[in-house]
């Protein structure tokens, strides 16, 4: 078949036809958009459409002993996450587990937040929900599970747990290259799920300024290949590692447990700080920027967030659609320590 035959094939379009149709489509599209903005100025909500990716939902949650699953379900709905989107999906929840001190609820993602997230996803029809973590400091993951109270919840609700420090692995090229790491090695379970949900804790951090949904994903990197506590990532740079991991994994959602967070010398030795909120979002840089503002911290002064925008997501307040409570309504400045370099100059 010669060139003339191909251009006249009625299964395809000529360049001129393509330009005409594109112009007509643009005019039609503009008319539809104008009508949409006129009749639905706030945008359509679930179950009709998906909200814009940079929306962030804030809900008050003053204590753990309340119906947290209903709050999470409300947040999922506000974020445009439909039952159709979740039905049949395999969901991996990645909590923040670090160390334990008996009775300390401000170090790790609270077990009742994990339980609520499991219930919410199962309610929307998820085929399977599992919890996975590669604990950063401790090699005895079971002891951390037990002493954090999460083991009890997992056992009672029959929720499977995967120790990411010891899973079999796959390796991919590090295309983002915020660090010098040429490759990234991930646990196989990440390939076997449809959604990765970062279930983080709202804390200050003495190396990164804060630890929220993006830093929480350090925990998916297997200790067997990165050391304890994730030595390779510290060696090549924490901020860049956060960006490389998030760019490679593209997690679908994050929920930050700010019901009881940590201020001061986080992520372990700080003091409890109640922000009384759950914060949720599909776009993790936007979500972390919102959490930082709630904590009284300027997200533009946090190295990893400044590096995330705009390629991985927006962090400007004007670029993030706030759903639920406003930042001002729940603002709870977290104490910073002047002697910690990562805390200097980040106050909002």
């Amino acid at each position: 078949m010669d060139h003339q035959d191909k251009t006249s094939d009625r299964k395809g379009w000529t360049r001129r036809e393509f330009i005409y149709c594109s112009l007509a489509g643009a005019v039609l599209g503009l008319s539809v958009y104008q009508a949409y903005r006129r009749f639905f100025p706030g945008g359509l909500s679930w179950p009709f459409s998906r909200a814009e990716p940079a929306a962030t939902f804030i809900v008050r949650a003053p204590r753990y002993q309340m119906n947290l699953a209903s709050l999470i379900l409300r947040g999922l709905k506000e974020l445009g996450i439909t039952p159709q989107e979740i039905r049949g999906k395999r969901i991996l929840l990645k909590p923040n587990l670090v160390e334990t001190r008996i009775g300390a609820e401000h170090i790790n993602t609270h077990p009742l937040v994990v339980r609520a997230a499991v219930e919410a996803f199962l309610h929307l029809g998820a085929a399977r929900v599992l919890v996975a973590e590669g604990i950063g400091h401790r090699r005895d993951s079971l002891l951390v599970l037990e002493e954090s109270g999460l083991a009890e919840v997992l056992f009672e609700d029959r929720i499977p747990f995967v120790d990411l420090n010891y899973d079999t692995v796959y390796t991919v090229a590090n295309t983002h290259r915020a660090t010098r790491m040429a490759t990234l090695t991930f646990p196989d379970i990440l390939k076997q799920v449809d959604w990765i949900v970062s279930l983080a804790k709202m804390k200050t951090h003495h190396w990164a300024g804060v630890t929220l949904s993006m830093k929480n994903l350090f925990g998916v990197m297997p200790g067997s290949y990165y050391g304890w506590p994730k030595n390779v990532l510290h060696a090549v740079g924490i901020d860049g590692s956060i960006l490389d991991i998030n760019a490679a994994l593209k997690p679908q959602l994050a929920i930050v447990d700010g019901i009881l967070g940590m201020e001061g010398d986080g992520p372990i030795m700080g003091t409890p700080k109640s922000a009384g909120v759950l914060v949720m979002g599909r776009n993790l840089p936007a979500l972390d920027a919102t959490c930082a503002r709630i904590m009284g911290i300027n997200p533009h002064r946090l190295g990893y967030l400044a590096g995330a925008a705009p390629r991985l997501g927006p962090i400007r307040e004007a670029s993030i659609r706030q759903l639920g409570e406003t930042i001002a309504a729940v603002s709870t400045p977290f104490a910073l320590i002047e002697a910690i370099p990562a805390h200097r100059g980040i106050r909002l």
Binding site: E99, R101, R138, R139, D140, L142, T171, S224, W228, A339
Partner: protein
């Protein structure tokens, strides 16, 4: 109790063996792991059982060894050389692997973490970063557990007086928490003393056995004595018990604690091969890990 534990262990370990390749999987249904294989060899040797598995398991570790002597998690990840001391343990009672063991020892003697001299500037941490030990992964700092494992491996292969081992001992003492015990390897950060872990403490105490005075580790022994009363998970319990045993201390009811720990599989599911093997070794190591290599 010991016989019962041995029977349960042998029954389980048979389901974790890789018959074609030799060696053991890490988790039931998982893939080959050199660390799991090494600990299974040490456990089977301590039981004087499983002769049929031992040869193939040791051979699988030799297959995993690279030209410079390191034993890594996989050939694709040469930086992950932390299983090298474990392979030395696994080969220790098999004369046919003397050469492989010597190459592994030489690799350890020639390898260190990233270290630097502390300058005049104020640093956020308090340990001496110049003291050389061993890292988990190449090109990173040295930490407590890989250093303790390397020190133990070199001690049993006759390098106890080597300067690298002596420096490793100094590193471990330097990383001991002021209040007793060890964690992954930081003592104080930004002026706050961090928390000790039973598993790290147990490993360090095994490495320091016979080379420092009891007074130098008394607080750490006291920490373990108190902490183990409430610990019933395999890694922390087994290393904690071996840490105490290496200094001649055995809490009353220790074997019962191992039984309680095994019972917890009803909650956690089957333990991974390394953890299960370590529990078995802890039940036999009446004077610490080193004592199981004397038989």
């Amino acid at each position: 109790m010991q016989d019962q534990l041995a029977a349960v262990y042998l029954e389980t370990i048979r389901t974790r063996v890789l018959n074609q390749r030799g060696g053991f999987v890490g988790q039931a249904g998982g893939g080959y792991r050199p660390d799991a294989t090494a600990w299974a060899v040490v456990a089977l040797q301590a039981l004087a059982q499983g002769a049929g598995f031992l040869q193939a398991a040791r051979a699988s570790l030799a297959d995993q060894q690279q030209a410079d002597g390191r034993v890594t998690l996989s050939p694709q990840h040469p930086d992950t050389f932390w299983p090298t001391p474990l392979a030395i343990f696994a080969w220790h009672q098999a004369p046919e692997y003397r050469q492989a063991q010597a190459r592994a020892s030489h690799f350890l003697l020639a390898t260190t973490g990233v270290h630097w001299q502390r300058g005049s500037e104020v640093t956020p941490f308090e340990h001496d970063p110049a003291l050389k030990g061993w890292p988990w992964i190449a090109n990173t700092h040295s930490w407590v557990e890989p250093t303790a494992l390397a020190v133990m491996a070199l001690q049993i292969t006759g390098y106890g007086e080597h300067e690298r081992v002596k420096e490793g001992v100094r590193l471990l003492l330097d990383r001991q928490l002021p209040g007793g015990g060890w964690n992954y390897g930081n003592t104080k950060v930004f002026g706050q003393e961090l928390l000790p872990f039973p598993e790290s403490t147990g490993m360090a105490l095994n490495a320091l056995r016979g080379v420092v005075s009891q007074g130098q580790v008394r607080k750490s022994l006291d920490f373990l004595q108190a902490r183990l009363q409430e610990v019933r998970t395999p890694l922390a319990l087994s290393w904690g018990l071996m840490g105490l045993a290496s200094w001649g201390e055995e809490p009353a009811g220790a074997l019962g604690w191992i039984g309680e720990c095994l019972e917890k599989q009803k909650r956690f599911g089957p333990y991974d091969t390394a953890s299960l093997s370590l529990l078995l070794v802890a039940s036999r190591a009446r004077q610490g890990l080193e004592s199981v290599f004397r038989n």
